[in-house]
């Protein structure tokens, strides 16, 4: 397949090389400072008391004994975090999620907090806080929460998106619908229809660094927050609003971040730390325990869905319907809506309908996790795609290729497609040696596709030239996985200087204009765009300065390969001026040399991936082992291939964990049973093989180098790729994720046919 490569085919000098990251040495020597690694004079230790109930009315909280304990400097409850007037609804809900207001909505919901001189005193103080709870009926399962007799969690929540408007509140926050054509007419044309139901359990992003911050509020109402976050500017805005502070008076500094994957796009304990600091008039360091991270940060939705696909015998998908019920946790979200927008994106289906429900439950408030909502929907659709291919006797890759979305076609969520990579990834999979490798007994191979949008957003960067000609690029997007190296490459490329001449810094909120978070695979895409424009802006200044130094018109100065060149025969004998030459004279030619850019980095290109997975199943125990894995994904343009591969591999590994083991397990009491890494089983090194990668480069016309976001899509296909491999290995089709050993064993014992309806052949 041919693609316009006028962007990615540019004659790059350093883009695409595998340089060393600037933060590498600090990170291998223990010098890098993360959320828990900062201190201030006189700082206190903050700790949070959390509800042991899934749902309870808080009748009274007595903090007097805790306050009287020597060494305790502040105790706060919701009374210390009053709702500022005019606080937007979603921010008010975030604040209520940070500290319960009259009701605990899930096991782990914060009800009070203390700041004390040391951890031991703080722990003791928590035990002295007396909370009078009246337990209320709870619901944690998404399907149960939708039932008419389910306990209603919020009496103010009426389902939106239904006509007529409901008369009674319910746990269903919204119904959304996307689609094309007429599905009834479409299914009538189908020769074969597959209709299946699926469930997926909630998972956690599993970043190794717990949430941690150091809050310092001064009596004059100004303050600062050192915090592990994907977005210091957004944290600043949200926290200032919550605390009733002026935005400019709260300086937020992002620490090095020990993983986020979406979970650090949302504030959790930070407003509480700020409230403690404000009340104690001392700095407060608050670090969540792992137990708290599981119980009280933002896992994914648990889901339940019905997928129906229809095709004609020649392998044309003619109709598709998905009804997807996504749990949002204790507060309404948009996760069910997002499932609708991603579920059928890989395919051109003339008649399709995706219906999503967002449902509140007595669970922690759901947050984004890498390509949020897409992996679960893809599990359903891609599992059904394999069954449908088998039912019409077609190779699953060929079936997908025949129906793959194409440039100029209409996406199921509405807009027409620009240049996209789904067909290219499928062709690469079809031709990959992995597909032809032999398999042993109890081994099977599966493949699946995935889609994610990617986003751009508000971005700002500064590029400053030092008097020695070295360059400082300052960006406002947190570096979650090596983006400083990629951004350094971009600045070097534009200026025509060596990568080593550029230093990339991440700004705090006092040093740069607003930047949206590092989310939606936007870090390198959007800050890269701002860096390109800031560098081009700087080159204009450099040309002006060179013109002054030569005393010639600026129109006669060009910038080539890192130096100013006087063009035209009139200036033939002028020796080019390097960046260093110009910088050295800058104090006398107009002062500091800098370039800036503020941009809304729209135009993020969508991303597609296709994965291949080989799995071996032990039929006696239901245990599985991934024995080979290949990721093929479109990167647009890989700025730093090492870190692009790293994103592909990391996302695949997270998807493998989701597919096989990871899940939130709730007891009948509505309490989380496995809030720790021992029982919430993430993949370890011995669980995985090398993860092969193939980077495709189908340029995104919305970026000067053709870059697409690469961070998220790789988590989308693994659930279904593994389900499909498992089915091919041992003949059982799994409909419930994770496909953990007990579930596989049960399916094997039920002869693999028990929960599988026959394909309807019209």
């Amino acid at each position: 397949m041919k693609h316009d490569n006028s962007y990615t085919g540019q004659d790059f000098k350093v883009i695409g090389t595998r340089v060393r990251r600037p933060d590498g040495i600090d990170k291998v020597t223990g010098r890098a400072r993360y959320g828990a690694d900062a201190s201030l004079p006189g700082q206190l230790v903050g700790r949070i008391l959390r509800s042991p109930h899934a749902h309870a009315r808080i009748k009274a909280i007595d903090i007097s004994k805790a306050e009287a304990l020597p060494g305790v400097k502040a105790v706060v409850t919701a009374d210390d975090l009053p709702l500022p007037e005019g606080l937007p609804g979603d921010v008010a809900q975030m604040l209520e999620n940070s500290m319960a207001r009259g009701r605990a909505l899930y096991d782990g919901h914060a009800v009070a907090a203390v700041a004390a001189i040391d951890a031991k005193t703080a722990r003791k103080a928590l035990q002295l806080i007396e909370v009078d709870y009246e337990p209320l009926p709870h619901v944690t399962d998404v399907d149960a929460a939708m039932q008419p007799d389910a306990p209603v969690i919020h009496d103010w929540l009426y389902t939106s998106g239904v006509d007529p408007k409901p008369e009674k509140p319910s746990n269903i926050a919204q119904r959304t619908e996307f689609g094309l054509g007429d599905i009834e007419a479409g299914f009538a044309k189908a020769d074969v229809v597959i209709e299946r139901s699926y469930k997926t359990e909630a998972t956690h992003q599993g970043y190794i660094e717990p949430h941690a911050c150091l809050a310092n509020i001064r009596p004059d109402g100004s303050g600062e927050l050192w915090v592990t976050t994907q977005g210091p500017f957004v944290y600043r805005n949200v926290c200032a609003q919550m605390l009733g502070m002026d935005i400019a008076k709260l300086k937020v500094t992002s620490s090095e971040i020990g993983g986020g994957f979406g979970g650090k796009t949302h504030v959790w304990a930070e407003p509480v730390a700020l409230a403690l600091s404000r009340k104690a008039n001392r700095p407060v360091k608050l670090v969540m325990t792992r137990d708290e991270v599981f119980r009280a940060s933002g896992p994914t939705s648990s889901t339940s869905m019905d997928i129906k696909l229809g095709a004609t015998r020649d392998g044309t998908l003619v109709a598709a319907r998905a009804e997807m019920r996504y749990g949002d946790g204790a507060f309404p979200g948009i996760w069910g809506m997002l499932s609708c927008m991603t579920c059928f994106a890989c395919y051109e289906i003339a008649n399709c309908k995706a219906i999503g429900y967002d449902v509140v439950q007595n669970r922690p408030k759901v947050a984004a996790y890498r390509a949020p909502s897409a992996p679960m929907a893809a599990f359903g659709v891609e599992s059904a795609m394999d069954e449908l291919a088998a039912a019409i006797g077609m190779d699953p890759v060929e079936f997908r290729l025949k129906n793959a979305s194409r440039e100029g076609g209409q996406s199921h969520y509405g807009p027409v497609w620009g240049p996209i990579g789904i067909r290219a990834t499928l062709e690469a999979v079809r031709d990959h040696p992995h597909m032809k490798a032999p398999l042993g007994p109890n081994q099977g191979r599966g493949m699946a596709c995935g889609f994610w949008f990617n986003i751009g957003g508000q971005t700002c960067s500064d590029l400053n030239v030092g008097v020695d000609g070295t360059v400082t690029l300052t960006v406002g997007t947190v570096d979650v996985g090596g983006s400083r190296a990629s951004l350094g490459l971009i600045a070097a490329e534009e200026l025509g200087i060596p990568y080593e001449q550029v230093q990339v810094n991440i700004a705090d909120t006092g040093s740069l204009g607003h930047n949206d978070m590092t989310e939606g695979s936007r870090g390198t895409f959007s800050s890269g765009m701002a860096a390109i424009f800031a560098a081009r802006n700087t080159i204009e200044v450099l040309r002006e300065r060179a013109a002054k130094m030569w005393d010639i018109p600026v129109e006669d100065v060009t910038w080539e390969a890192g130096q100013a060149v006087a063009k035209g025969s009139a200036h033939g004998n002028l020796k080019p001026l390097s960046l260093k030459d110009i910088a050295a004279k800058s104090p006398k030619t107009g002062g500091p040399i800098a370039g800036h850019n503020e941009v809304v980095a729209d135009g993020a290109g969508v991303s597609f991936a296709s994965h291949i997975c080989d799995i071996e199943v032990d039929p006696e125990t239901g245990a599985t082992k991934v024995i080979r894995y290949t990721v093929v994904q479109d990167a647009g343009k890989a700025i730093h291939p090492d870190y692009v591969e790293g994103q592909f591999q990391g996302g695949a590994a997270q998807g493998i964990g989701w597919a096989l083991n990871e899940e939130y397990i709730y007891g009948d009491d509505g309490r989380l049973q496995n809030a720790g890494f021992l029982d919430y089983r993430m993949p370890v090194c011995s669980d995985l093989p090398f993860i092969d990668t193939m980077i495709l480069e189908i340029p995104n016309p919305g970026h000067p180098y053709g870059v697409r976001g690469v961070g998220e899509t790789s988590i989308v296909p693994p659930l279904a790729a593994i389900g499909n491999a498992l089915s091919n290995a041992v003949g059982v089709r799994m409909h419930h994720v994770p496909m953990s050993p007990p579930r596989i064993l049960k399916a094997l014992r039920e002869d693999g046919q028990a929960d599988r309806g026959p394909a309807k052949v019209a």
């Binding site: 595998r18 060393r20 990251r21 933060d23 590498g24 040495i25 990170k27 291998v28 020597t29 223990g30 010098r31 890098a32 400072r33 993360y34 828990a36 690694d37 951890a119 031991k120 992003q205 599993g206 970043y207 190794i208 660094e209 717990p210 090095e256 971040i257 020990g258 993983g259 986020g260 994957f261 670090v287 325990t289 792992r290 979650v480 996985g481 090596g482 090492d642 870190y643 591969e645 790293g646 591999q649 990391g650 695949a652 590994a653 997270q654 720790g676 890494f677 021992l678 993430m682 993949p683 370890v684 090194c685 011995s686 669980d687 995985l688 090398f690 993860i691």
Partner: protein, 163 residues
């Protein structure tokens, strides 16, 4: 505060610190000695971010009391490089892009060094099992295993040259 005075050797230096009896060695190293390269990911011995060696043995410092360090020898990530030189494992983690966020890196480096000290030529499987006590959520372990393989090769080549 009742407490204990602990005399120990950390990264080759004689060090004394005082801590409460119930304080973990992890907290003592971070809060009393200032070795912030030792990370806490779970506090329950499941993630390996706080890995150190105690008398040459790889342990999670969150599962050891500070008081137990009395008279023992401790190595942390801060003690891996010698003089101005990075350890080959540190060098290799950078050149192989074996870290993304980097929070697990100190623990992986200490665990990998512990492996190579015992077994200079480990197979891929041996590396994977030796590092199975360390969680990484970013990399899928691929580049970590390759970095350890590469460092092992370099160390073997160096010792062959000096022999």
């Amino acid at each position: 505060m009742s407490g204990v005075l602990v005399t120990t050797t950390i990264n080759g230096d004689a060090v004394q610190f005082a801590c409460p009896e119930e304080e973990t060695l992890l907290d003592a190293l971070r809060d009393r000695v200032g070795l912030l390269g030792v990370k806490e990911g779970c506090g329950t011995g499941d993630c390996g971010a706080c890995s150190i060696t105690l008398d040459g043995r790889l342990v999670c410092s969150c599962l050891v009391l500070g008081a137990e360090a009395e008279g023992r020898e401790i190595t942390t990530v801060e003690g891996l490089s010698e003089g101005g030189q990075l350890h080959p494992l540190q060098e290799s983690f950078i050149s192989h892009a074996a870290l993304q966020c980097g929070i697990c890196t100190p623990g992986f480096l200490v665990a990998a060094k512990s492996l190579l000290d015992r077994n200079p030529d480990p197979s891929e499987t041996e590396i994977r099992y030796a590092l199975a006590g360390n969680l990484c959520r970013c990399t899928g372990y691929d580049k970590i295993v390759r970095a350890v393989q590469n460092a092992a090769k370099q160390i073997r080549e160096r010792s062959a040259q000096s022999a």
